[in-house]
């Protein structure tokens, strides 16, 4: 089925959800609330039932460990006949490609989203299974996610790629997200979860920074993207300490206020639908 663009923030579908779609979205959210998969947090948009905000926390023992990866999802009016559109917002404003399958534009390449070849979407999928599929892209050796790369092109590529991801995870998806450098409008409930999770992972963050300090000043190369970055763990350590002091002192609210909403306001729906989405929590 042809898909008119993958980007939920530029989706132009108007109109309202079918009865099945709105009841399915609520059920899908309830499933996650009642039995939360580890490292996966979602909240429905306050104003638009079609929009879901999700944070995937990078899994332990992966280069994404403890990172906050913020996704915006938008369900089509006939959900679950068609899949939601998904965008990763944590990209350092379009500068970092966190995975061979997740571009710096935020596009997620996944067959069930219709953005890649392979088994297509089925209405038996739901929000939790979709987010778990995305979480599984953020694995121990993301280099080999790239189709066709069964072997490293140059020996050590996979290790070097992990070093790059680990640094960018700390820089962009931990420090950058906690400081809200890119001025994303992340819902309060998800911010609270980030604050708590930050403290839980703090010792790991510091350990990673200290263990890699010797790389400072060297150039990291992303084989999948053109950008080159310098390692700067010393600076990251200082930022981590500052953020921790703020979170501990309960003076942490994003350092920067969001500059705009993630999703076009015109598309936001009537108050009636807003009420529907607020009943999800009760």
């Amino acid at each position: 089925m042809p898909r008119s663009g993958w980007d939920p923030t530029e989706d132009s579908e108007q109109g309202t959800l079918t009865a099945t779609a709105s009841s399915r979205i609520k059920r899908d959210l309830m499933t996650i609330f009642t039995d939360p998969p580890p490292g996966l947090f979602v909240v429905g948009d306050e104003l638009n039932l079609k929009i879901i905000h999700a944070i995937i926390v990078g899994v332990m023992d992966t280069p994404y460990e403890g990172g906050f990866f913020y996704f915006v999802l938008k369900c089509p009016n006939d959900y679950p006949i068609r899949p939601p559109k998904v965008k990763l917002m944590t990209t350092d404003a379009g500068n970092v490609r966190f995975n061979p399958n997740i571009y710096s534009s935020g596009k997620v390449c996944l067959s069930i989203l219709g953005t890649w070849n392979g088994p297509a979407w089925s209405p038996a999928q739901q929000l939790s299974s979709l987010l778990l599929s995305i979480q599984s892209l953020l694995n121990e050796k993301p280099y080999f996610n790239e189709p066709g790369l069964v072997q490293e092109q140059i020996p050590g590529d996979s290790k070097r790629y992990n070093e790059f991801i680990q640094h960018e995870t700390l820089r962009v998806s931990v420090c950058g997200m906690m400081e809200n450098q890119c001025r994303l409008s992340i819902p309060e409930q998800l911010k609270d979860i980030m604050g708590k999770t930050f403290l839980e992972f703090y010792d790991q963050y510091v350990e990673i920074a200290k263990n890699n300090m010797h790389l400072d000043g060297t150039e990291m190369i992303d084989p999948f993207n053109k950008g080159r970055h310098l390692c700067h763990y010393k600076n990251l350590l200082l930022r981590l300490e500052k953020i921790r002091a703020k979170v501990m002192g309960k003076t942490w609210n994003f350092f920067k206020e969001p500059s705009c909403t993630n999703v076009d306001l015109k598309e936001r729906q009537t108050n009636e639908e807003a009420k529907c989405s607020s009943t999800i929590a009760s």
Binding site: M1, T18, A19, T20, S22, S23, R24, R27, D28, D78, P80, I81, R82, P119, S122, P123, A124, Q126
Partner: protein, 85 residues
């Protein structure tokens, strides 16, 4: 003791005999109806595929209509054929 029944009122219940509790498309209980209907029963029937998976008729028809080629069961991805037995 002798008992004489003077009057009685029969009450019957019914339920669908499906191999699952919920429709895999709308995720509503089979004993209810699909979200587009108001009352369960003959107006919102269940249908089975030859793969043995079962859905609200309204739900599976919407899914099949959206698939021009390769009409597959949402659960097992086998080619969908109605089981008319």
């Amino acid at each position: 003791m002798k008992v004489t029944i003077k009057n009685w009122v029969g009450v019957a219940t019914w339920r669908w005999v499906a191999n699952d509790d919920n429709c895999g498309i709308c995720r509503m209980p089979f004993d209810g109806c699909c979200p587009d209907c108001k009352l369960p029963g003959d107006d919102c029937p269940l249908v089975w595929g030859q793969c043995s998976h079962c859905f609200h008729m309204h739900c599976i028809v919407k899914w099949l209509q959206s698939q021009q080629v390769n009409q597959q069961c949402p659960m097992c991805r086998q080619e969908w054929k109605f089981n008319n037995k």
